[in-house]
């Protein structure tokens, strides 16, 4: 990279705020996805003003730049696809304000998701979006990707909880979007920028809603002898108008993987389990939990376990939150997919996935947010075998096309990033994509901010490389 740029960055951030030696950059070549891209340098701003200056420098030296939180993303959103500067927000990790009375918090983007909930737990509040990587992932990353999580079924995803933010546009302008109060007049810029995958602006402050913790929670583990019984159960719960706080499904392959690792008490040998939370007022939770258990039994669940206490509940959830790590122990490399389908198509889709797996020679594992139809098929493969890797990618593409055929979408919470840009034309017309590109270009006219994301590019065959899953620092949502 240009040594003058490097010098100026060091002058701005101090030498501890800039990394540029190849061995220091290695970590930043990866995120939670199977993609890899090498940045020219990595910078660590301490304040919004630093970010403004970094953006101005990037413009002056016509260097691409990419924002990054904890790097737990699963679609390559935080990778420097065209090189340049990676802006890591780990030093901007302060909770700036907590307003308990009004149930609001303003945070810097580097605040770890779970840290905010922990910081306000004594007030009976929490930050509701809970990606499975919440111990590591940052709220800035959540905002960029519009992250979900198991409990977003009832509570909504990130965008439903963001009221305003301070952003640095790719031109270096500082703008405040939205407000701490609801209903900012004008176009819903906050709604547009949340989930824009870091292509419209770098976010430096975020105002979020905090949600009251429920008075009561019941966690159920329902065991099934067939996958169809489990998916029918989910469909029936939805049909009856019950919205559990979470409704997660594991198939036999992932049950084994999780149980071997976490020892959460999952029934090894079962075809599928559902992990269901119902929460709310004591009076509501009692009857709802009973109704859900009845529905499970009606669909032939031989066993429906209700967690007796918080410890047992935490253990069951530990199985879910550590599932991807558990899979990593079985297969050194795997491809974690993300697709969405209507909840009425769960059974048919899972049958299709098994067929696709067989066609390409994989046993595909499934662990996912069944309640909102958000699938996470896992394709285990041998990363050292190029052919197997190619087959895994081909199987993944077929899975996503299957989701589209079912009336679904190509990503429910991981983002398009550089993983699925080539799949966008399956879902969107040329006109749709041209307008979306227009939105990007309106705010990011030079294209220097996070280039090569979301929109189809001519992807070189073999651009993506496999790597050992053990390097994945945190599990995905």
């Amino acid at each position: 990279m240009d040594s003058r740029l490097l010098h100026e960055l060091k002058k701005l951030l101090g030498s501890e705020g800039v990394l540029h030696e190849p061995e220091d950059l290695l970590l930043y070549e990866y995120d939670g996805s199977v993609e890899v891209a090498k940045p020219a340098c990595v910078v660590f701003p301490r304040a919004t003003e630093d970010v403004v200056e970094i953006v101005k420098l990037a413009n002056r030296y016509e260097t691409p730049l990419v924002g990054r939180g904890a790097g737990t993303g699963l679609s390559g959103g935080a990778l420097a696809r065209q090189g340049g500067i990676v802006v890591v927000f780990s030093r901007m990790n302060r909770v700036l304000e907590v307003d308990v009375e009004n149930q609001r918090a303003t945070v810097q983007p580097g605040v770890v998701n779970l840290d905010l909930s922990v910081a306000v737990a004594h007030t009976g509040l929490h930050f509701a979006p809970d990606p499975s990587s919440q111990k590591a992932c940052t709220i800035g990353g959540n905002v960029s990707e519009n992250s979900g999580g198991p409990h977003t079924l009832a509570y909504g995803v990130t965008t439903n909880h963001v009221l305003g933010m301070t952003v640095v546009l790719p031109t270096g302008e500082l703008v405040r979007l939205g407000s701490a109060a609801v209903d900012s007049p004008g176009y819903d810029l906050t709604g547009l920028f949340v989930g824009s995958e870091g292509t419209l602006a770098l976010v430096t402050e975020i105002t979020v809603k905090l949600t009251r913790l429920p008075e009561a929670v019941k966690t159920l583990l329902a065991v099934f002898d067939t996958v169809d019984d489990a998916t029918e159960t989910v469909a029936e719960i939805t049909r009856r108008g019950i919205t559990p706080a979470a409704c997660e499904m594991f198939d036999s392959w992932t049950i084994r993987a999780v149980e071997d690792y976490v020892h959460a008490g999952y029934p090894v040998g079962a075809a599928a389990v559902l992990l269901i939370d119902v929460d709310g007022l004591r009076e509501a939770v009692e009857s709802e939990a009973e109704e859900v258990a009845d529905i499970c039994r009606l669909h032939h669940a031989p066993e429906v376990r209700v967690a007796r206490d918080a410890a047992e509940r935490d253990l069951l959830w530990k199985g879910r939150k550590n599932a991807f790590g558990a899979v990593g122990r079985i297969s050194p490399t795997y491809y974690a997919m993300d697709g969405v389908i209507p909840r009425t198509k769960l059974a048919a889709t899972l049958r299709r996935l098994a067929e696709i797996g067989a066609k390409y020679g994989f046993e595909i594992g499934n662990i996912f947010h069944a309640g909102d139809g958000n699938l996470h098929p896992l394709i285990p493969f041998n990363g050292r075998d190029r052919d197997e890797f190619r087959r895994a990618i081909a199987a993944g593409t077929e899975i996503i096309r299957c989701c589209i055929e079912m009336g679904g979408a190509i990503t429910g919470e991981h983002g398009v990033g550089m993983e699925k840009d080539h799949l966008m034309p399956y879902l969107f017309s040329a006109a749709d994509l041209e307008l979306m590109r227009g939105v990007r270009d309106a705010f990011n006219p030079s294209g220097l901010l996070n280039p090569g994301k979301i929109f189809p590019t001519a992807k070189a065959c073999g651009e993506i490389y496999a790597r050992p899953a053990a390097e994945t620092s945190a599990p995905p949502a």
Binding site: D99, E101, N102, Q103, G124, E145, N146, G148, V157, N160, V175, L177, A180, A181, V182, D183, S184, P185, G186, Y187, D188, L189, G191, L192, G195, S196, R212, T238, R239, G241, I242, T243, G280, L281, R282, E283, A284, S287, V340, I341, P342, R343, T344, H369, D372, G373, G407, G408, A409, I410, T411, G412, E413, V416, F428, L433, L435, M436, V439, A442
Partner: protein
């Protein structure tokens, strides 16, 4: 070829109007279009907009035309794009709780379809008996049910729309969780048809509550009523709606004018004209409702509630519709009715209501306010006439309210007022720092400025 004949060649002569008096029904703030066209498909909508773009004709899309007076007066208005023929349910998967409709479908027609499956869209909005889905979304009017369900941005899943170039585009989808591509559909919500003409809208639907129970507690002051609002917010209760009515609001929603707009009687014990009323609705099973009632009663007493009423089943509907129709009722209550919408952090609502009261009273204006638990306040200023003198008093009062609202960190706009006053009122509130970004979006979606030109923030 003249505009009407070209429009007729697109949608058929029977779906084009170019003569009075039918055109009068499409007037916006005194401006009358040259033609009305009622397209029968989204393809026709695209054709019409393409034609308008080529001829630089300004197009204003409309549904039931109940809220066309919102916002600024359009700069130019040539073609009224009446969307009411696009009134079909395109897709409904009740078991998935997802829905796709054409934008011109009336809310009541859709509600009937959803009710067959014990579902609904929680859009209890003004003009509900007539309004279309598209008009409701485009105007961005809110609903008391937002306390539990949020607003349209929380349950619109995707959209198809026609841009100002006549290009049909879409974003989102019809699944409940989706991060594929930019959420362009969010931009259309509340944009008054200035970025695109919505043709299809996808929603997440919700199960109808098994039972609902309404309560009304009366207080000597707004502050005390708000104390109960805060107590509820910090309790485990999850109400469906929380509203606070000023004594003036109780007066107008209980008036004869109101009875004509929303029939059914509203007992004075529900809404006392001498008090501030906090109205709360809960939904759920009987056991849950009993618990809510018990807790609410206790909290109400602690906050100094003077009376506590559990609404009888036959009071629920009239009470809900009178509150829901507050805006049309207020507009019908005074020839110069001007409504300020404010949003602020909930703990600032007390001060803001006091400000509104002061500003109204020092300018000798009667006023009525309805506030939502989430921090939204509508204040209706009700001068006795539309005289120039009344206009000046309204300007002074609204200026004061807008300024003080900004000081409290809130947002304020003046969505409704007599048309001839709009140019002297700060309809879209005080200047905003993000207006340049909005301009960029307008330039992208409607480069020729033919879609509802001038109605929106900053004259967009």
């Amino acid at each position: 070829m003249t505009a009407p004949s070209r429009l007729a060649s697109i949608s058929g002569p029977s779906h084009v109007v170019s003569e009075s008096p039918e055109l009068n029904a499409y007037e916006i703030c005194g401006k009358r279009p040259a033609a009305v066209v009622r397209p029968g498909s989204s393809e026709e909508v695209a054709e019409i907009v393409k034609f308008a773009a080529a001829e630089k004709l300004a197009v204003v899309p409309s549904g039931a035309r109940t809220k066309l007076s919102m916002g600024l007066t359009p700069r130019q208005y040539d073609v009224a794009l009446d969307m009411t023929r696009l009134d079909r349910v395109v897709a409904y998967d009740p078991a998935d709780l997802t829905l796709g409709v054409e934008s011109g479908i009336p809310l009541h027609k859709l509600a009937a379809v959803l009710a067959e499956h014990k579902q609904w869209l929680p859009l209890a909005v003004p003009y509900m008996e007539r309004a279309t889905v598209g008009g409701t979304i485009a105007s961005g009017v809110d609903t008391p049910l937002r306390q539990m369900y949020g607003t349209a941005r929380d349950y619109v899943l995707g959209m198809e729309f026609v841009t100002g170039k006549g290009v049909t585009a879409k974003s989102g989808g019809r699944v409940v969780k989706n991060v594929t591509g930019y959420d362009m559909h969010k931009l259309m919500i509340g944009a008054l048809g200035t970025l695109g003409v919505m043709t299809k809208i996808n929603f997440r639907t919700f199960p109808l509550p098994v039972a609902t129970r309404g309560f009304a507690a009366s207080f000597a002051s707004a502050g005390r009523a708000l104390e109960l609002r805060h107590a509820i917010a910090h309790s485990p209760l999850r109400p469906q709606a929380v509203e606070i009515l000023s004594p003036g609001a109780a007066k107008i929603v209980g008036s004869d004018v109101a009875a004509r707009i929303a029939p059914g009687s509203l007992g004075s014990e529900v809404c006392s004209k001498a008090h501030w009323t906090l109205a709360v609705d809960f939904s759920g099973h009987e056991k849950v409702l009993d618990r809510c009632e018990r807790d609410l009663r206790q909290m109400g007493e602690k906050c100094g509630g003077e009376s506590f009423v559990v609404l009888a089943p036959d009071q629920m509907l009239p009470a809900a519709s009178r509150k829901r129709e507050f805006i049309p009722i207020a507009l019908a209550s005074s020839p110069g009715a001007t409504i300020v919408k404010m949003s602020v952090l909930p703990t600032r609502m007390d001060e803001l209501l006091a400000t509104a009261a002061r500003a109204s009273e020092t300018n000798s204006l009667s006023w009525a306010a309805i506030a939502r638990g989430v921090g939204v306040i509508y204040v209706a200023l009700l001068p006795k006439d539309r005289s120039d003198e009344a206009r000046l008093r309204v300007i002074q009062a609204t200026d004061q309210i807008l300024f003080e609202c900004a000081g409290l960190g809130g947002n304020a706009t003046i969505p409704w007022s007599p048309a001839e006053w709009k140019s002297s009122l700060k309809v879209w509130g005080l200047e905003r720092g993000d207006i340049d970004l909005m301009r960029k979006l307008k330039a992208l979606f409607d480069p020729l400025g033919i879609l509802s030109p001038g109605r929106f923030v900053g004259g967009l």
